[in-house]
Amino acid sequence: MSPLILILLLPFLSFVISGLWGRKYLKNLAGILSTTTVLASFVISVTTAYRYFFVDGKVAGKFVAQYPVDFKWLEFTPDLSIHLGILIDPISVMMLLVVTFISLMVHIYSLGYMKGEERYATYYSFLSLFTFSMLGLVVATNIFQTYIFWELVGVSSFLLIGFYYSKPSAVAASKKAFIVTRFADLGFLAGILILSYYSGSLEFKDIIARYTDSSSPHLQAAISSSFLGVSALSWGLVLVFIGGAGKSAMFPLHVWLPDAMEGPTPVSALIHAATMVVAGVYLVARLFPVYAISCPAALHVVAVVGVFSSAFAALIACTQTDIKRVLAYSTMSQIGFMMFALGVSGYGGEAGLGYMASMFHLFTHAIFKALLFLCAGTVIHFVHSNEIKDMGGLKKSLPITHIAFLLACLAISGIPPFSGFFSKEEILTAAYHHDKLIFWVAVVTAGLTSFYMFRLFFSIFYRGEENTHAQSHHGEGTSSMLAPQIILAFGSVLAGLIPFGKFVTSDGVGLEAHTDWNFSLLPIALSSTGILFAIYFFMKDNDKAEVLASKFGSVYISLKRKLYIDEIYEFVTKRIIFNLIAQPAAWFDKNIVDGFINTIGKATQVFSLTTSVWQSGKVQAYSAWLLAGTLVVLIMCLYYLQLL
């Protein structure tokens, strides 16, 4: 057994221990225990990454996949079995680093943030469960293992969103998140079945090999059989993408993400910003060769959905007043960037720039978005409110958070030399070379990003006076809350300097990415304009913003109401589905199905009452029945054999 399995087992162990005995015996030790196990996982991940990237990952100048653990779990037929294993390749190693690192930061942060919480140990056991599931998802060697951990991630997300289960809104949000993503997972499952049916395997390596080789019979079969005029391969890939879109909050399956902010803020940082929500991106990246080589149409769907979600979310983010919701929409927008970056990418060489950029953005985004959420957590902790109108002028009270938040905002806005600049830059380059329309939408969205982020920044830390009676006595929080913010702030500044293209590319061969400053000028200019607008409107206490909003009137209001997507969903579910499908189904169930069962029940009773004449208790009668039965059986037998 490879020691890599420990990366998974340690968080699982911590989940079991703090889940079973945490509340009774461990109490505050549960936090230390979980944090230690995640630390250990992180250390193993780092050594793995070092070994893979610098020592033994390359074969002939190309990174190849390794399978340190591959355990045959269920064998249906000699050809078809389900494995559980660990797959090590550039993206899984990168994700291992991201997940364990962010998880570690959030674990440490929570030591302070969740202090005094009654269900402290439960919280940590859920966090450990999530870390375990996410890691299992990342290292999955086959699509079925992905699916298992995919659902586990969904469950732990459900548990954590609904952590404050006495709050009705939290319960509703957790249900919403679970149902919406489950709905998308239905697509995922169908996609898995289609893909594995035609490829005859569940293993990623087989699926990719069989679908990318144009002479393979599997590929021919999957292309030639079609449904509604679309080939089976496209169906499979699009359905898998729908699953990914559900988890990654792509339009129109994004409705759960803003509500998911009901969970504790560190949870939002870990699950709903840095790790789980990028699972969809990861999934597409995992199957990327199939998308890129054999089915560009499906990839185009990814690109369009990605860029649309990105612009859509950015617009809504400009109008939201709940600090965490703004961040949620910005997350959605940034994931949209990653998605369309994959969508505009080709396979291999320079054409694979989009793939590399997408993974790079995933990496940098995880860091600065986690930082934004942790800062938001500190602010909320301080003012006990999520609304930006309750904040303002916090620069003096929260100096460290102020700096950290500023750095993260600069990073997400794509201002050089902060990390977001590099990754976004490459995404835009890839889009420019592929599709001009996508490029222009993306550039404008990038400008909007800086506008709404700095709107948030100024509204929290500058505008107006500090609301003195709302502030609490505990200042900026414990050192365990500050340390992760400082570490992540360094990360947000420096992560962009990593020569990412050397490590993670679509085909495993290193890629030299060069920044073309002439090209970069436009995005930087737009982002800076966004910041300037934000300064103009929100730096000082004034009513310019309200005036502007009233000028736009209905547009502003519909944006603020999130373009009525929730209302549309409600209309569809409550009016259409309930009235047209659910109620007839309920009627059918009540009257026909239940009626049928009841009739059977009644018939059974009548039957057993009449036959209970048999069970009279008289031995003579029993013997008579015995004889009668014998004769009947005998005659039946003879008659059947035509001897009578």
Binding site: G629, V633, L634, L643
Partner: protein
Amino acid sequence: MDLILMMKNELMLVFIIVILLVMKVADNGRSSGYWIGVINVLLIVNCIIDWLPVSEGELFGGVYKSYALGNFGKSLLSTGTLLISLFSTDWLKRCQHIAEFYLLMISTLLGMFFMISSGNLLMFYLSLELSTIPLAAMCNFGLTERKSGEAAMKLILSSAFSSCLMLMGISFLYGASGTINFEVLSIIVQETPLYIMGFVLLFVGVAFKLSVVPFHLWTADVYEGAPVPVTAFLSVISKSAMIIVFSFLLYHVFGSLYNSWYLLLYVLSIVTMITGNVFAIRQENMKRFLAFSSITQMGYILVGISGSSAEGVTSSVYFIVVYLFSNIAAFGVISQIAEKSGKETISSYKGLAKHNPFLAWTMAIALFSLAGIPPTAGFFGKIFLLKAGASKGDLFLITIAALNMIVALYYYLRVIRAMFMDENEDSIPVLHSGAPLKVALAICLIGILITGFSGPVYEYIFTLSNGI
């Protein structure tokens, strides 16, 4: 030497019987605990000896046969008897005639062993009686209760009647073929009216013992009246022995009458499953409830036996293993509760889990296994039965069986619901169970889980039944 080696199982039982007789004669007021201790030690020794391998072959000119599947069956029966003996400790202590009880029980077991190994019709008939008559006496062991005596009378009269029919069948067979030897008979038997008649009568005799509908009427009354350990013995040990004999007879001796017994199994299994279920739903008394549920289980076994030979036999013997563990566990709990609190109805089980979690959980797992819910062994047992039944390609029978399994879920879950979910002011107080009971239940639980999870058990039985 062959004699001792091949008949070691039977000789061991005879030896125990002799020891008990001597001890009883020389008895000078030993305590019941002493008796129970000695006997259980003997039974454990017996059980260990039974599991040792036995050579195969024939004795006394073919009257006695030793074959792999039969020997496996014998070991299983010894184990079951030991488990029943362990869980009935409390009841026995109250009972005045421990030595007699065990003498009867072991005689019955001896009868079953001979029946499994019988090589001709005469031996078969004699051992069948040896396994029935002491059983009727055992039913009467609730000495102070009227019901118990009634049960004994009903059993002895009904089985006397079925023996009559069977003897008639045996005479027909003998008259037609001129032989009572199974080997010879299996070659001679043909599809002529006389043979069919003889065979059907013999079949009815066995079906009576298996409580196959419509020959089942004695079952519920006897089960209810007899003391719980006896009921357990009747429904588990006696039935298991009969199943082994039954599959031996059908496949080995009357293989050429395949068409007629396939029809019989087909029709009777459907009737049995449905009737068993319909009655089980209505029962309030736990013992009657298990009686009817065991009738249904017999119906499933018939479905399995009707499949093609090796698979059919394997699946039914595998099911017996499962059935034995599950039912003994259920009866163990029932006997403990009946003994300590005198309650036997389902409604009095309400809220059992509150004060007696171990008993309730054991019962629940046993019922889950009987209902066939994964991952208990019962699930796999039923899957294999259905698979064997389906090997003939007749999906109607399988569909009926599957539907019945669903209906059966209802009444098994009813008991579980009563134990775990229903509130009861007057629930059964904490019962202190003795160590033997706990050991017996624990062995059953392990059996239920292990048999389900380990493929080797099924494969082992499969290799054994290839010989048949």
